[in-house]
Assembly symmetry: C2
Homo-oligomer: 295 residues x 2
């Protein structure tokens, strides 16, 4: 009656994403008949048809659609449990923190110092990556903490503490027609080519693809795009570029995120350290923003 095995979920997800039994089977490293049988058993156990399949077409039913999403989450949870258990028991424990380059707004050194001040805490391993799956690394147990940005990153399934809010600025070459403005509104940027960040589907981006800030800096300097982002992301700024605050762009919030239901005292200690540092800095950061906006 009850009881769906993770193996069955893996199999189903393979078929549901490929929509093709033979290809899914070879991706799984098994033969196609075994896969067909497994899916049929799964369907009978659930009492639900998951795939509509005739000889030349495989399509998800409504229930299959649901299992595709829910099953992904379930598998994430299982692999997260496995990874965290391995990490907890195997070698010397460490705390893994992921961030993207420049994504700490200069707070990280102080946070690390405050954390290291607490006795008996495992060392922190900082993973710096441009890959867009930083949040997923928390969900599937590869990391314990992440520095993320709201609203860019999807924080579902995560707990987070706000560390800093930063006004967005437009970055452009010194000679750009808007470069001398004190401030801008999004409407002023109509027609400007905006970069498309790979791995994100943005609505109004028309310009070239970019993968990291160094590349973006380069493209801005060449006058190929105008970027709207938190100022600290491009710091230190190339001399030939200028920043102009964009008043009505939704500000970017730096958050420290960790998996929900984390009971790790080390994570708790790090969060405490981070909020303490953030609170200490908050006044000055706000002043900075106010000064820029006033200007």
């Amino acid at each position: 009656m009850e009881g769906v095995e993770t193996r069955e979920l893996v199999y189903f997800l393979a078929v549901a994403t490929e929509l093709h039994f033979t290809r899914a089977a070879e991706r799984l490293g098994i033969a196609q008949p075994a896969l067909s049988k497994a899916i049929r058993v799964l369907e009978r156990r659930l009492g639900v048809r998951l795939l509509d399949r005739d000889s030349h077409r495989v399509a998800l039913t409504e229930a299959g659609e649901v299992l595709l999403h829910e099953g992904r989450h379930a598998l994430d949870a299982v692999t997260a449990a496995v990874r965290r258990t391995r990490r907890a028991g195997q070698d010397e424990p460490r705390l893994v923190l992921v961030m993207k380059p420049g994504g700490d707004r200069g707070l990280l050194p102080d946070i690390l110092a405050a954390y290291d001040a607490e006795p008996g805490m495992p060392p922190v391993e900082v993973v710096v990556t441009n890959a867009p799956d930083r949040a997923d690394r928390l969900r599937d147990g590869r990391a314990d903490l992440a520095l993320l940005h709201r609203p860019r990153d999807d924080l579902r399934g995560l707990d987070a503490e706000e560390l800093a809010v930063e006004q967005q600025v437009a970055v452009m070459p010194r000679h750009h027609r808007l470069a001398s403005r004190r401030s801008l509104r999004m409407a002023d940027l109509r027609g400007e080519p905006l970069p498309r960040w790979v791995g994100t589907e943005s609505e109004d981006a028309t310009g070239p693809e970019v993968t990291d800030t160094a590349q973006l800096s380069q493209l801005v300097a060449l006058g190929r795009v105008v970027a709207v982002l938190p100022e600290s992301l491009l710091a230190p700024l190339r001399p030939e570029l200028v920043c102009v605050p964009v008043l009505d762009a939704t500000p970017s919030t730096l958050v420290l995120a960790w998996p929900e239901q984390s009971r790790s005292p080390a994570v708790a200690a790090f969060v405490r350290a981070a909020t303490a540092v953030s609170a200490r800095r908050l006044g000055t950061v706000d002043d900075d923003v106010a000064r820029v906006v006033d200007a």
Copy 2:
């Protein structure tokens, strides 16, 4: 290398909670040697010792502690996936909403009316229960929506929309020494017996256990306890009782919650209906609170 089956997780959780192989085995309906072998296989696959066991004692290792928590969540996710898939495909779809008696502050009829106005949406089944696992029902797929109360309920793993904030009041018999006060502070209630809600571990509750509001009403009328709770929870109020606002009690927020990652259009429609009704009512509710606090 990879691959932990849900069956193994179920087995481990049984042992980890019982801390006793024989009892866990019979709870699982299998023989003890099978369970021992399964755990050993699991440990070897993870490369981690989960349980320290000599002939007369079983204890969780640190890694075992982690797997106990993480594994629970993983299994919740799996069973949620199964339940939601079954519900999506089997019979005529319905939307299941859980709440506790009186936990809607009178908003639900209007919300249901607004929801029913949208065409093509599945009917709503309202489950009213005093059981303290309302939030869990969302997590494991037994329900799609829940009316919960912050900060009493644990909203981790859930998305939520705020519907109403309500000031807390102290409820007491008409002849109580504090009954004639216009307002109170928590300090005024020092020494009063506060009820202990079953299923919650409250810190400063010293009075008798209560399971529902009817019982609580009775105990208050008898002068056995003084309750601090949102006023609407006891409405309509017995004539022999009075409410006095408690100014510094953290107010209770009524929220509509649903599972994260829900992609159901029906859930989305219901949330839209609820926020619309809440917004329409918000002004008057705030006025009510203000009037009470002013008094």
